[in-house]
């Protein structure tokens, strides 16, 4: 069927879903792989706190190599491609327009995952740039940038050519995210890595970038997706459009102008402005929480049972908690207590895994069977996976948050020797390893279902190709 024919006739939902099949399989398949790799790396990094003396002969196993690699594998390997895939699908669905030229996003997705591979290898061989969330050396980051441009452009072209012209709140969030990343990623890579600016301006840009990626970008995509799925699951429209508009504006205004920690050795107006905007973040957080509450609560309870709806609800709650934690750590007194402690790591994990990754799990579990047309091979494992993910997350975040506050109180008391501060933090770090272990299991179960789906799809393609090749030729074809 040619493109024009598709446009002329009203495409069915199945046709729209099918048009996204291959790009989404590549994006989600790679994402599932990196998710597993990232959590195993995080586990290895965490083992340093159980037996630090064991890692001295192999540079690849030291904390300074493994921990950044684990963080980047989660963020760049899983979160971004998963988010882009979900955004692409949402555009085609609400735009009522099948994806055209699917080969471009397929190539872009392969480039993206190649970029993550190159970047991770770069970190392990010591080519890290040394800035948090920006460790990938030039080769990896250029591939990522180029792949993102291709994917983003394709999503926008699908958006521009949509048949259903109404704009939905999800659109604003997702489109803003599509623009946000190339802007901040190119700025940071050019001004820090490519042609570095002098002195602490490097650190300022790195903090600005980290906040805009880890907080703003994930919120835009995660909340954009939740604003699409929650009304879908509850059968009730988003409550309400104007709350969403308000939340969108306040989120991007306050969210994007922060990130410089309180005591940083930079001109004082930067941390002050950051702290002010961080505190004001409470406004969009309350607005978004109200939207979620009004959209979900009171609706005749949908079947949840550890399925997509459950996960997206859980992600939503994690978002609120993570953002409130961020607001709390910006309060002047509390920030002095918690800066430089494990509480920051707990908040990041709550944001990236508790909110974003779990929202993406819910979305992917919903989307994949529809676009591929095959059910998951192990549907019961979905619920098991969700339980492991929730438990692991809670153990990890609570142990590091409590440990972080304890560490902060000790760090601020010069009467406690530093050796005692680190010694006191160890039990909490060791408890967080247990959480990571559960997360590894959850991630591997997720990957198992995704890989089984990809294999089943490949098998069905192979079967149909085989059938087409071996089928007896029809007379009309012989004639032609």
């Amino acid at each position: 069927m040619s493109v024009n024919e598709i446009i002329q006739k009203n495409p069915t939902t199945q046709e729209i879903d099918a048009s996204c099949r291959v790009p989404l399989l590549v994006l989600f398949g790679g994402a599932a792989l990196w998710l597993g790799v990232g959590s195993v790396l995080a586990l290895v990094a965490s083992l340093t706190f159980h037996m630090p003396e064991k890692f001295g002969d192999c540079p690849w196993l030291t904390y300074g190599h493994v921990q950044p690699a684990a963080d980047d594998a989660l963020l760049y390997g899983f979160c971004i491609p998963a988010g882009l895939g979900v955004a692409l699908w949402i555009f085609t669905r609400i735009g009522q327009t099948p994806l055209r030229g699917a080969i471009v996003p397929v190539v872009a997705a392969h480039l993206w995952h190649l970029g993550v591979l190159v970047g991770l290898v770069g970190i392990f061989v010591g080519d890290s740039t040394g800035f948090a969330w920006l460790e990938f050396p030039r080769g990896g980051s250029s591939l990522l940038f180029f792949a993102y441009l291709l994917l983003g452009l394709w999503a926008l072209m699908n958006f521009a050519g949509r048949r259903e012209s109404r704009l939905f709140p999800s659109h604003w969030f997702l489109i803003a995210a599509l623009f946000w990343f190339p802007w901040i990623y190119s700025t940071a890579n050019i001004l820090i890595v490519g042609w570095p600016v002098r002195g602490v301006v490097q650190a300022i840009i790195a903090w600005w970038f980290g906040d805009n990626l880890v907080f703003v970008w994930t919120n835009l995509v995660g909340i954009g997706a939740a604003f699409y799925f929650l009304p879908k699951f509850t059968g009730r429209p988003l409550q309400t459009y104007y709350y969403a508009l308000f939340a969108f504006w306040t989120l991007i205004i306050f969210g994007s102008m922060r990130g410089i920690p309180a005591g940083a050795p930079v001109p004082a107006w930067l941390p002050a402005l950051s702290a002010l905007n961080s505190l004001l973040l409470v406004v969009p957080v309350i607005a978004i929480a109200v939207i979620g509450w009004k959209t979900v609560c009171g609706v005749a309870n949908q079947e949840c049972k550890g399925g997509s709806f459950c996960m997206i609800k859980f992600g939503f709650v994690s978002f609120v908690l993570s953002a409130l934690l961020l607001v709390a750590t910006a309060c002047p007194h509390f920030s002095r207590l918690t800066q430089f402690t494990w509480l920051g790591a707990a908040q990041t994990q709550l944001q990236l895994y508790g909110f974003f990754a779990i929202t993406m799990f819910g979305a992917i579990y919903y989307i994949l069977p529809r676009v591929v047309g095959i059910e998951f091979a192990f549907p019961k494992l979905i619920r098991v996976q969700h339980w492991f993910a929730m438990l692991g997350l809670v153990i990890f975040v609570v142990s590091l948050a409590v440990g972080g506050i304890e560490q902060g109180m000790k760090l601020n008391d010069p009467g406690v020797a530093f050796a005692d501060v680190t010694k006191n933090a160890l039990p909490f770090q060791r408890a967080s390893t247990m959480g990571l272990l559960l997360l590894v299991i959850a991630n591997l179960l997720f990957a198992l279902n995704i890989f089984a789906m990809i294999l089943a799809w490949k098998w069905s393609v192979a079967k149909s190709v085989f059938a087409a090749v071996t089928a007896p030729l029809e007379k009309s074809e012989v004639k032609a």
């Binding site: 003396e53 950044p68 602490v200 008391d413």
Partner: protein, 272 residues
């Protein structure tokens, strides 16, 4: 769609102002920063790190040291110490007066009042500025870190978590190269219960030749290699230590003043 265009333009404006505030403005303010003069001195600060230390910064970056160490000393505030420099004509009056006054850890006004009392009694005093806060009390530095400290660093490695101690002033705190090398090779050897992984791969264990190498590590039995072998730092280890030793922030600046201890204790005493 018109609606969509407005939303797009406004979102663009928000992102542009975020960029302007956190990328452009700091660059305009700090991008042309130059060396500054050290307070009460003709010296300038900072000096470029020596070549080996700059190589060491690369090792620091490549090994992700900033995943555990910060380089930013925090400071809660200032305190003033009033120090008597000359007792004048009535030493007994002055010493009686001093025994009734609090002279350390004062705020500005208290320091001024105390100084006034002593000068009216005929003594001479100096007021010394001392930084305060937990980091300063831990001995991690004499003042808080400032932008100038990182003028010549690329990449700037501020770090964000203190799994290990702050290193902003480690060159002044632990200036012994051998200690640093031993610590890198086997942290638990010199700091009991250290959570730092050893960096043995920055060293090589080789057979002792005709004579032991000059820079072979002097290790206790527990960490020593087999008999007839010695542990020698590779170039990377030496560079990393050169970088650590180059981390000095013990210099008073206009935006982070303090009275350097050696000046405060020695100089007036010499005059007398």
């Amino acid at each position: 769609m018109k609606n969509g265009f407005v939303i797009f333009l406004a979102a663009f404006a928000v992102l542009a102002s975020s960029w302007g505030a956190f990328v452009l403005a700091p660059q305009l303010q700090l991008g042309g920063a130059k060396q500054v003069s050290v307070l009460n001195s003709s010296d300038v600060y900072p000096l470029n790190r020596p070549g080996e230390a700059n190589q060491g910064l690369r090792i620091y970056r490549a090994n992700g040291c900033a995943a555990c160490h910060t380089e930013q000393v925090q400071q809660a505030g200032f305190a003033c110490d009033v120090v008597l420099t000359a007792a004048g004509k009535n030493p007994t009056v002055i010493s009686n007066l001093i025994s009734t006054l609090k002279l350390r850890g004062l705020n500005e006004r208290e320091a001024e009042a105390a100084a006034n009392k002593i000068t009216t009694a005929g003594g001479k005093v100096e007021t010394h500025i001392v930084a305060t806060g937990p980091d300063i009390s831990r001995g991690w530095g004499l003042r808080h870190s400032v932008a100038e400290d990182f003028l010549y660093d690329s990449p700037v490695q501020l770090g964000s978590i203190r799994v290990g101690p702050d290193l902003a002033d480690v060159g002044a705190r632990l200036p012994d190269m051998n200690w640093q090398l031993l610590h890198l090779y086997a942290p638990q050897n010199v700091v009991k219960d250290s959570a730092m992984p050893p960096f043995r791969y920055l060293f090589e264990t080789k057979k002792i030749g005709d004579a032991p190498s000059r820079d072979a590590l002097n290790l206790p039995k527990e960490f020593a290699p087999a008999a007839g072998y010695e542990v020698v730092p590779k170039a990377e280890a030496k560079q990393l230590v050169a970088y650590l030793l180059s981390l000095h922030t013990d210099v008073p600046l206009y935006d982070a003043p303090f009275t350097p201890p050696q000046v405060s204790t020695n100089a007036p005493a010499n005059k007398q």
